[in-house]
């Protein structure tokens, strides 16, 4: 691979290729930048902004900013941690994230980020939305829409062979939501359903097939291992 870009991340000089985003370049060099809406290989929409880093003194989303020569990137500082904590608190207070009754608990990326940044409570008022649970659109998945953080990973990742997404956005502004296109239910395979559950960073998309709460507490993905694969 041709390495034609040289930049600095947290003071360390690294080399990478031109078409990469900061998140990808950092990952290649073993530097973790937290992400929620980021999907590898796709130029992201920067929906969640959890990956905000400082590029040459300016805040920029690392998932959609392409690397450039002589770029100076700071991925971690007290200011950035505080900003990320605010975003996590906002996401927790705008959805119904009651971990005790969520089967994604322990494998949830939003929860894992809250653990990483030692979130004790949200400084924002909880909205307790009631967006409903969609159990009928698909015979393979259910969607608890009050948990959706609108990351749109499912829209980008799960598509049929012609490239049409199974999940689509519906509504505008506060009523904006991700829905399953029920007209595509016939061609929505079990593999697609498993991938959708895997891609959802929270407990919004859940499988009808697999049993819930199968993995005991202590053996789930983030019970002992911090997100970003740092052993604790």
């Amino acid at each position: 691979m041709q390495k034609n870009i040289s930049l600095s991340i947290n003071g360390n000089k690294i080399s990478t290729t031109k078409s990469k985003t900061i998140v990808e370049a950092a990952e290649d060099n073993g530097i973790y930048i937290p992400t929620l809406c980021f999907l590898k290989g796709k130029l992201d929409h920067s929906n969640c902004r959890i990956c905000t880093v400082k590029v040459d003194g300016y805040h920029k989303p690392a998932c959609s900013t392409l690397v450039a020569d002589n770029m100076d990137v700071i991925t971690n500082s007290d200011e950035l941690e505080e900003l990320r904590k605010y975003i996590i608190e906002l996401l927790f207070s705008t959805g119904n994230h009651i971990c005790a009754v969520c089967q994604k608990s322990g494998d949830c990326e939003l929860q894992a980020l809250a653990y990483k940044y030692k979130l004790l409570f949200s400084r924002f008022e909880h909205l307790y939305p009631n967006k409903g649970i969609d159990t009928t659109s698909s015979d393979k998945i259910i969607m608890d829409k009050s948990r959706c953080i609108l990351c749109q990973r499912c829209i980008q990742a799960i598509k049929d062979k012609d490239g049409n997404p199974f999940f689509v956005l519906q509504g505008r502004s506060n009523a904006l939501e991700v829905v399953f296109d029920k007209e595509m239910n016939d061609i929505f395979t079990q593999e697609d359903a498993i991938e959708a559950v895997k891609q959802c960073p929270v407990g919004c998309i859940l499988s009808k097939e697999s049993a819930a709460f199968e993995t005991p507490i202590g053996r789930r993905q983030f019970d002992k291992t911090e997100i970003g694969n740092k052993e604790v």
């Binding site: 927790f92 971990c99 005790a100 009754v101 653990y115 409570f121 019970d223 604790v232």
Partner: protein
């Protein structure tokens, strides 16, 4: 002089109190340095003095919860919200997106498990505290000084919080003790 602790359970399930007891043999160490005042553990019903640390389990779902919580704030130097219900409403707050009338009807009149209430009576004894339109977290009602998340919070987190406060150091929860479920 020993420090004093008071505890209560509002709209909670007593799981957080179980977690307090789950500090196991450290309970004996705790009893060397603290004294429990008003608490379901001691069954003392009224405050007998000013309290150093108040532990609140559960949010506020009815009028009595609010009275008890305000009473705790008045009597406790430090008030700690223990568990998800106290912090953000938790499982009881799952009713927050639903109208109160609808909830009561489902529970006492039209729910699939309601078989014996043939006269369709909704509990209405004046002694019963009135249900609030939604479940409130404790910090929406009074000032809360510390938050210990978890459902229930891990015993290690409770131990770390109490001992840190008594020793005057900052609470520093370990990764494994800070969990939301």
């Amino acid at each position: 002089m020993k420090a004093t602790i008071a505890t209560t359970s509002l709209a909670g399930c007593f799981g957080c109190h179980m977690s307090i007891l789950d500090i196991d043999e450290r309970l004996l160490d705790l009893l060397d340095i603290v004294e429990f005042d008003k608490s379901p553990i001691t069954d003392i019903k009224k405050f007998t003095r000013q309290i150093d640390i108040g532990l609140i389990e559960g949010g506020c779902c009815n009028s009595e919860n609010i009275i008890v919580l305000k009473d705790f704030r008045k009597h406790c130097k430090i008030l700690i919200a223990v568990g998800e219900c106290a912090i953000m409403g938790g499982v009881p707050s799952m009713r927050n997106g639903i109208e109160l009338d609808e909830c009561i009807n489902e529970a006492y009149i039209s729910g699939p498990t309601v078989k014996l209430n043939t006269e369709k009576i909704i509990p209405n004894d004046p002694e019963l505290p009135a249900l609030l339109p939604r479940v409130y977290s404790c910090n929406e009602i009074v000032k809360i000084d510390y938050f210990l998340p978890g459902c229930p919070p891990r015993p290690d987190l409770i131990w770390e919080a109490i001992t840190s406060l008594l020793e005057g150091r900052q609470i520093d929860p370990s990764y494994e003790s800070l969990k939301f479920d």
